[in-house]
Subunit: 189 residues, 2 copies
Amino acid sequence: MQPMNLPDLPTRERLITTAARLFRRNGYHATGLAELLTAAQVPKGSLYHHFPAGKSDLAMAAADWTAAQFMRIMDDAFVPAPDFQQGATTLCHKLAKLFDLLEAADACPISALLFDGPEGEPFRTHADVTFRRLTGHLAAHGARLGLGPQAAADQAELLVMAIQGAWTIARARRSSDLLRALPARLFLR
Amino acid sequence: MQPMNLPDLPTRERLITTAARLFRRNGYHATGLAELLTAAQVPKGSLYHHFPAGKSDLAMAAADWTAAQFMRIMDDAFVPAPDFQQGATTLCHKLAKLFDLLEAADACPISALLFDGPEGEPFRTHADVTFRRLTGHLAAHGARLGLGPQAAADQAELLVMAIQGAWTIARARRSSDLLRALPARLFLR
């Protein structure tokens, strides 16, 4: 999730990946624009060229980027899976590894961007649309793997919620064990 | 969850309930000390008398207060319940009502305090202890209602995580439906 060779990325991507990282780690309000530009190695004028509203535009783009990364991890987990439960199990293990890689320090990459972010209608609507996209993407895997439409929607929404909560509490506990334990708790009853 | 007669409360409680409300609604960093003191109708000197470290002390006290409120709602749901599933169902419905009362505007009352809060070890440890207390309280109800120790711990932890995630996504969606739908998705499979 973190850029390996920051200078090689185009300016827009440098801004987005840096913002996603800093907002996740320190929160939206606690991240200063100057700090962000220094970390991204981007001059101030370029920020407003790519993101006319500045920090709040950047927060929406960072949320989109994070969602896209998350959907790629979902695909990696579900495409080779024989059924939804196995896909979900692999997804949770991949997220646990990501959590360890981030040294248990970051907030949930989605909600950190979406709930500590700027005030107002457009941002909350963007959060809603983002969560629906993630759930829809997961439900499509469920349907492809044989779940009926309602079951696919239910399981996808439950899994997204459970992951959201597990990540939050895992962060307090500084341990990815909760993420690894999630599939057994959700499915093996 | 919100004080009805603020002036009648002792100073310490006025500070805590006001802080809990403002941190939930606007986040820890976005809440100014001056705004907090005005809303609580408390002079600055009194804040440092009750909370020597100021805002960060107050955040921990507000997290404790919120956890105590949450445990009271758990008790109201589980004490009259015939089994854990019925208790969990009632709890989710009570939380949906609370969510509606708060006009879908507030962050999860626990995580808003704990993750947008001050940096550093003590605060994250406090978050961990608080989530463990909540889970332990719920597991005790499960054990009383006939679950074995491991099942009680598993179900309690899953329910706390699912509620945490459901509240977050419900907030984006401005709808408590996700909280109401949670028990059926967790138990009726």
